[in-house]
Symmetry: D2
């Protein structure tokens, strides 16, 4: 059994990592940290785990983490992660970092959209952990930057088109909608039930920090710089992201051809499911699972293609993708501990 | 008091017309029809109106409607409306038709997207009842085609830009999200609570019937044909539409300039509210009212403008806009009976 | 026009008072206070009111309130209210206080369930403002204690039975369920969307502070002390309270007899609606209105009566009942400004 | 691998049985029937299962079911089940029946609350499958009647008290609230999203068919007839039942004593979790799992005990309890295939 630590576990991603790892056959959870809940039994904060875990939260203390664990998931806010990750690596740990701190390769881009970076030397080493696109790079490495939720949904939606340059990379418009758990488990007025329920709004229009991450991955697939319009919205659901992606086709393709392209591209992927022609995905049909579902439509009237992708933002968009990355890093079966089917309804 | 009939009142638009008209100081509801509920007291179907209306539903009988009323709201499905509206006009009634049957001016377009039209001669006469764009045409006429919910949200969002040709009319992408009441009050599997709750999906991609209606209005504003990508989505809320509209600017404009343009355009409109720079609308802030709220952002990175508009799909998208049209047709104060403020939270 | 102040208006009750009073034909809002939002335009905090009010929040300053207003609604937390109300009365204002501070007549009971009381001399003067039970006491007075949301729903449900002593007062069990707005508009972890959505729980079992208020009113109706089991629950909706009340009948009565009793009791009440036999109320059918709907069932198997009552907790449970009280205090038409019908769906 | 059939699988219980059994290591799903969807691929009806099951729905044909399977879950409406179950038993199959048809031991009671029974001879044989109360009776039998959702939540809540006669069996009041999936996956007006969302209501007051089932189990525990007031309510959530149970204590007990009693009673039960003193359960903390969580409070003011229990109505209230019963019938580990932790948030 590999001894696993979760650093920064009092949020929604943290409780999902706990849920998944408690049922993972090859790991043992040995250290779970939380600055604000240190000393409190985990089940007092997360009664859903009652009876299944006896640990209390540890404080965020590097020595403790290093002593207790072999493999570490860091689920800290950006900036906090980069204070911890280099030390963990130095101590010989393997790390999946769920923050944004090691996702962008260009330190100037990171610093333009986020903050001063204190360990830029790791940006070249960290592998962007989107297995369906970069699986071979992940095997055996010691540091994986787990992708953002929106970027995961977008990259899987557009990869089949950009890999073959079937769309104009200047035409990309991405309209995304996320469940409220994406805003985190902190007491903010805007996240109150009565503010979100029966509401819907856009936010971060033309300025959301996932934009450069999306552009980096799409640019890599296209082999040229890509600039996108990206608009996130807040959905009155707990979980799920749906991204509607628009692009101009460089050659006429109908829905059947597009669907075939997508189906072939992902035929061997255990966690990407392409809907048959005429069917479109719903966030409800991936909730609680590591799946990404895709639907694609060609529009001869406008010459555009529309791709709709859905994931569970806390799972394929965070916790379960992190476990998938661990499985690949440690050369285990990729779906180990990830066989849960979506919880519908 | 003008005697008013509501024809086809057992849906959500019907109950909203009842609610509004019961508090309208210049009308009396004298006839309320429903094929399936004929003979049933209205309050048995709509307990929210308990104690405020004693009528039972009438069957859909033309003679009864004509005898009992002076002014008629037809809230029937398309095709059903065109069987009734010509007869009402012949009998000298004034009509606001809430179906799609008289919204499109070109019978060929109607028949391509809907069905055979049986009273095409009225298409030239019917006025498209979007007061903020076509107010003067509405005064005194006998037939107003009440706009669709999505088209209302889109036309108000894009009018300031298209009227001055500040955007490329070939670049328009419209990503709309509607509450579930838009699907009507009929027992369908897809409208069940457990199918909608915690879900979100696109539907009618590249094929929704509101597309030609949107294109007709935008084309009229632009003075040239317009072709749009329009994607509706189903939101897990009862009410509200939010449309996110993307267009390429024909000249550089920043958010402040764009906000100023919108604020001036709608300065005298009682029911359109433009948010200050940096604020964006939320469907929760118009729920239960006749307002349309607008927010606009310029994106210098991509050269695009993003406009976000919200309405209550049952009100500004249907029932209250119909009452607004009645008020204009009868030369009453335009906000008569429409002073309700949004119900938040 | 009477000049009205709302003291403590940054919560959900505050915005509802604003919404109602902006459309009330006999008052003008002249002062709106908020400690945390002082100086901010009201519409920045409540965009639903955009275009309808130009005021900014005032700080909670007694001189300002006294100078600007004739009539004051105090919507402060308990303890904060009793610091303000005596001063307002001294300055000759009329006050509806929406806190708990003047609801309980016995200072010992107040201090056992709440805190030290600093103006106990007003407890004897303050009138408990439940118009359907105590209307005549309200006329002309200067201080009304606006009832709690749960106690309003319970008192109206049980009054017809207790007034005639048709039930055993020792047998009362009250199971209540409230929408989340009842928890207020403050950033608390337990009020987050993801904590409430798809959840349901009991809280304050056998210890909720509305218990003595319920017992005071029921005891007054019964003419003897009453002790109840009262269990509140948190509903994943924004608004609405439903109370299910159980009592043992002192003589056999069937549903028809009970329904008749209730219908007669409330026949002349504009805001209480008794459902016909066989129908039961739903919170959705009173949302956005001042109505209380009641349904009653007799159960010959157990000898018990079950009464179900629903109100909108922010309206009949707070803001609109406060306006109703103002109307009575000032001898205006009781439903002035309160004619809104429920917003369904 | 045991070959398993699910008869009547197009409802929410059906899809949950599919989800659980697809990940159950000792069974293979070989036959899945649906009258209305016969011939349709299962994944067309349930896209959440996409990629994991290739079968199409079979028609409800006894020969096919018998030929293809060894163990059968019948998830049919009452009356439909009793047409199928006797034939399956005759053919030597083992059956867990999820309908009400074999839950009541007294045919007269069944016929008073339901319908004419056509195989009353099986009522004596069928075992009521609530493992925590009747585990030993379940081992090896061929027919288990899977308990109703409400009765499961109530029996587990009251067993510790009734087994020791610590409460007056005439004082029981049970106020239950269920998620909407309990109303089934059929297109009914009352189950529409807009009818349920933001709503809450009681239904079946003093007349719900689960009443005799509750009374049968409680009477068995008490060793004497029990008559309860049982009121179900409809919650605007997809899943979950919370039952609030009130009873008069026959001797004074405080919360600590009561919590201790419950903790001891269920100490060895893998699927019942008793909250520490001062904490109460929330349906969100059992969603997606086979757990029942319990909280208990003693109220010295009234001499009553209040027990709050929560389950997932589709799982411990239906599908996963059925799998638990299968595991016991076949002498497998009781939690085989049932290790899923709750999906929070």
């Amino acid at each position: 059994m590999v001894r696993v630590a979760i650093v920064g576990a009092s949020g929604y991603t943290g409780v999902e990592l706990l849920r998944l790892l408690l049922n993972h056959p090859r790991v043992e959870i040995t250290c779970v940290t939380s600055r604000q809940n240190a000393g409190t039994p985990i089940v007092s904060v997360f009664p859903s785990l009652l009876g299944r875990i006896d640990l209390a939260f540890d404080p965020v203390d590097l020595d403790t983490i290093i002593r207790k664990s072999d493999f570490v998931f860091t689920a800290l806010p950006h900036k906090a992660a980069m204070l911890v990750v280099p030390e963990l690596l130095k101590a010989g740990k393997k790390v999946v970092d769920l923050s944004a701190d090691y996702r962008l390769r260009d330190v100037a881009v990171y610093e333009a959209w986020y903050d001063k970076h204190t360990s830029p030397e790791l940006l070249g080493e960290a592998i962007y952990g989107l297995p369906e696109l970069f699986r071979e790079n992940i095997r055996g490495v010691r540091l994986v930057a787990n992708p953002g939720c929106y970027p995961t949904s977008v990259a899987l939606a557009l990869a089949p088109l950009l890999e073959k340059m079937l769309i104009d990379p200047h035409s990309l418009i991405i309209d995304s909608k996320s469940g409220t758990s994406g805003a985190g488990r902190t007491a903010k007025l805007g996240s109150l039930y009565c503010e979100v329920n029966e509401g819907f709004k856009a936010y971060g229009v033309a300025s959301h920090r996932h934009t450069p991450e999306i552009e980096q991955t799409l640019g890599q697939l296209a082999g040229q710089p890509v600039r996108v319009s990206f608009t996130p919205h807040l959905l009155p659901v707990s979980r799920g992201i749906l991204s509607t992606c628009y692009a101009t086709l460089t050659q006429p393709m109908d829905t059947a051809q597009l669907q075939g392209l997508f189906a072939r591209r992902y035929a061997d992927e255990p966690f990407v499911r392409v809907h048959p022609k005429g069917e479109l995905p719903n966030i409800l049909h991936v909730r609680g699972s590591n799946f990404c579902n895709l639907g694609v439509v060609g529009d001869p009237r406008t010459g555009r293609v529309i791709v709709v992708s859905v994931i569970d933002n806390l799972l394929k968009g965070a916790a379960s993708q992190a476990v998938q990355n661990m499985n690949i890093m440690l050369d285990w079966e990729e779906d180990c501990g990830l066989k849960d089917l979506p919880l519908y309804p």
